[in-house]
């Protein structure tokens, strides 16, 4: 009966969405804000990647909110996996050597690891010029550490204290940049500094700095999550 009811609900929802989609002017919807941003983004923000102007300048507070959501989720997972909770970790730690994934995997990852870090940092630092940026680059950084911890489940891939510090420092610097703008320019997260030469690495004022903070924050958050899932004893 419950299954039938759920099926009916899903079918109804699907039908509803289909009808609504038919009503929407998809393809030629009015682009009031979109066009306004496209017209003014170049001189107001100075980032070659318009998406970045939207993410960090026009809707910077939303990005801060997204970072906080990620932080809340990571904190909640960390809290649930602490020792005191009912979710007891396994008692018998296996031998460090036995749980490793073998020569090929370990050395392969060791080889790829620095390359992944470089790619991640490149994506973050060129976020204002090319597609990509803090969120994507941060994920690449986190994956670099995650892969190391997958091939050596018992080995220590990164210190949890460092992760927590980077996490806090990145969040702090995002907000501090915003506050500096508030007290020098008059508005929170207002673009600051010289916009530089359009399209070059040193351009768009504070945008690259903000994206660096986003990247570090996202990377530390996800790496912390994987660490919390992987280790027996988490000290949050």
């Amino acid at each position: 009966m419950t299954k039938f009811a759920s099926l009916l609900f899903i079918a109804g929802l699907a039908f509803f969405l289909m009808v609504v989609t038919g009503l929407l002017p998809l393809g030629n919807s009015p682009m009031l804000i979109g066009n306004a941003i496209l017209d003014s983004a170049k001189e107001q923000v100075g980032a070659a990647n318009v998406v970045t102007s939207v993410v960090l300048a026009y809707r910077g507070l939303d990005t801060l909110g997204e970072l906080s959501i990620l932080f809340a989720a990571a904190s909640a997972v960390g809290l649930l996996l602490t020792k005191s909770s009912f979710n007891k970790p396994s008692k018998n730690p296996t031998n460090t050597e036995e749980s490793d994934s073998g020569f090929v995997a370990i050395n392969g990852i060791d080889l790829i690891f620095p390359l992944l870090l470089v790619v991640g940092m490149y994506i973050i630092s060129h976020g204002h010029l090319t597609p990509g940026g803090g969120f994507q680059g941060g994920v690449v950084l986190a994956i670099a550490f995650a892969m190391r911890s997958i091939v050596r489940p018992r080995g220590k891939s990164i210190d949890h204290g460092v992760v927590t510090f980077i996490e806090a420092f990145a969040g702090l610097s995002f907000i501090v940049i915003g506050l500096v703008a508030l007290y020098t320019q008059g508005h929170f997260l207002q673009p600051m500094l010289d916009q530089g030469h359009f399209g070059s690495l040193w351009s768009a004022g504070t945008i690259p700095l903000l994206y660096l903070a986003v990247g570090l924050k996202v990377g530390a958050e996800l790496a912390g999550l994987i660490l919390a899932l992987n280790t027996d004893e988490v000290n949050i």
Binding site: V20, P30, G65, L79, A168, A181
Partner: protein, 486 residues
């Protein structure tokens, strides 16, 4: 005035640094939260007079609307901000040991609440709504008992579905109009009044209705409230549910001021009242009874808001404040008076003060003169009677019926409290902090009795300010007046 953005930013900042500070000094990390909250409370009080009757808009990043994100600050949102800061100080986990990350979650919850109250941008509202949701998942699941984990999981499913609906609704509005700024949208309401626009509104109501304990979306309420610690329940039932209601009301007032929409709200409200009271009547334990009665009260608030114009708004506001005070107080009181009704037999002997406060609260909740609850309910019924629609007249009957049911189960409980079968069980209950707060809540309720007319005048002013979309539009989009389309 731009510094009022600190209301959102400072809690976020403190949430980020608490885990690191805790590694060096646990004491400082525990103090950061309350210090920030007190600072914000002071900020709100100090800026009260500098906000004029037209409100004030903060353009984030210095981008003029409708392009950037806008915060709109008026007396109504400042009052709610003050309540948020005060309420969080009250439910702050002072004495129990908590992990530093839990303080972080509380601060994230605070930031999200301020954002929900202040923001005037649909997508920004969604971001804060989601932050609020994720922080509450963590806080609920963190409770020590496994039942809370199950409750948190179910809450997660319901709430995440709701969030998806909310996002879908906002996406439909954006596709239709090409803007997200509520004031900007309010200038083009004719585009929203088609079938697609109304379905977007329905989706938004469903999404926000999960937190507002709306009828059919409130299945998580009893389970969650009866498994988590009572101060947190007081926060969720007293304050967070109201913030979601405010979100619905803002969207309703600015964008969908139509009689069909109002009637939909009325019907949902009536169902909420009846179903909540019926189940509360059958409840066998204190916390469950309070949670179901909270569903009913939220239904009543929706009925009040369904009256068009300022009148409905100010009655709704008064009901919100009254419910915040009474239900918040009752949940704080339930910290001591927990458990099934059988356990509470003869409680009057154990703590006469607690029972006295309990009775004051429920008398006001029922609407017995001369308590504030009576005047609010009277105003509600009088104004419902004035409406030119039989639907509203039926609602009166349902409200009265619900009050009778409510009286039946509350007085039944009071009878239990005064029964003493074994008078020997006199336990010296420790004076807990929550009990003191409950006493303060009761005192505020009694004192407000003397100031009914100034308070209601103040609320009427606020309501006329909030109900007028022109003020909102002119403050946020000054260029709109001169006809220039930015």
């Amino acid at each position: 005035m731009n510094h009022l953005i600190l209301l959102v930013v400072l809690p976020l900042l403190s949430a980020f640094i608490i885990p690191v500070v805790a590694k060096h000094s646990l004491t400082i990390s525990r103090l950061i939260g309350p210090v920030v909250l007190v600072f914000i409370l002071a900020l709100v009080v100090l800026s009260w007079n500098s906000v004029g009757s037209n409100g004030f808009a903060i353009f984030l990043g210095g981008f003029l609307p409708p392009v950037g994100i806008v915060f709109y600050i008026d007396h109504f949102s400042l009052m709610l901000s003050g309540l948020i800061a005060g309420m969080l100080l009250i439910v702050w986990p002072w004495n129990s040991y908590v992990a530093p990350r839990q303080y972080s979650l509380y601060m994230l919850l605070t930031a999200a609440s301020f954002g929900l109250v202040l923001s005037a941008d649909l997508f920004n509202l969604y971001v804060f709504y989601e932050l609020l949701a994720v922080a509450t998942y963590g806080l609920i699941a963190r409770q020590k008992n496994p039942a809370a984990a199950v409750a948190a999981l179910r809450y997660l499913f319901v709430s995440a579905t709701g969030s998806a609906m909310l996002l879908l609704g906002i996406a439909i509005i954006y596709t239709l109009t090409g803007t997200l700024n509520i004031a900007h949208l309010a200038t083009m309401t004719d585009q929203l009044h088609g079938l697609a626009g109304l379905s977007a509104f329905a989706l938004i109501v469903i999404g926000a209705g999960v937190k507002a304990e709306m009828f059919l979306l409130n299945t998580w309420v009893p389970e969650v409230y009866s498994t988590i610690e009572t101060p947190l329940a007081a926060l969720l039932a007293g304050l967070i549910s109201k913030l979601a209601t405010v979100l619905i009301i803002r969207v309703l007032l600015m964008l969908f001021q139509q009689s069909e929409v109002l009637q939909m709200l009325l019907v949902v409200g009536v169902f909420g009242v009846i179903s909540g009271e019926m189940v509360a009547w059958r409840a066998k334990d204190m916390l469950r009874m309070l949670s179901f009665s909270s569903i009913a009260q939220l239904g009543m608030i929706f009925i009040a808001f369904s009256i068009a114009g300022e009148v409905g708004l100010w009655i709704g506001l008064a009901m919100m404040l009254h419910h915040l005070l009474v239900k918040g107080g009752l949940f704080l009181l339930a910290d001591k008076m927990q458990g099934s009704f059988d356990n509470l037999r003869g409680y009057a002997k154990r703590s006469a003060m607690a029972v006295a406060i309990f009775i004051i609260f429920i008398l006001s909740l029922l609407g017995i003169p001369p308590f504030p609850g009576f005047w609010i309910k009277l105003m509600l019924i009088l104004n419902l009677a004035e409406q030119n629609n039989t639907l509203y007249h039926y609602a009166i009957g349902f409200i009265l019926l619900a009050t009778v049911i409510e009286a039946a189960y509350l007085f039944k409980l009071v009878r239990y409290l005064f029964q003493d079968e074994e008078a020997a069980t006199i336990v010296s209950t420790p004076k807990s902090l929550t009990f003191w707060y409950a006493q303060i809540f009761a005192l505020v309720l009694l004192v407000s009795l003397a100031f009914i007319s100034p308070i209601s005048n103040r609320l009427k002013d606020m309501a006329s300010q909030v109900a007028n979309p022109d003020i909102y539009i002119n403050t946020i989009l000054p260029s709109h007046l001169s006809g220039g389309n930015p």
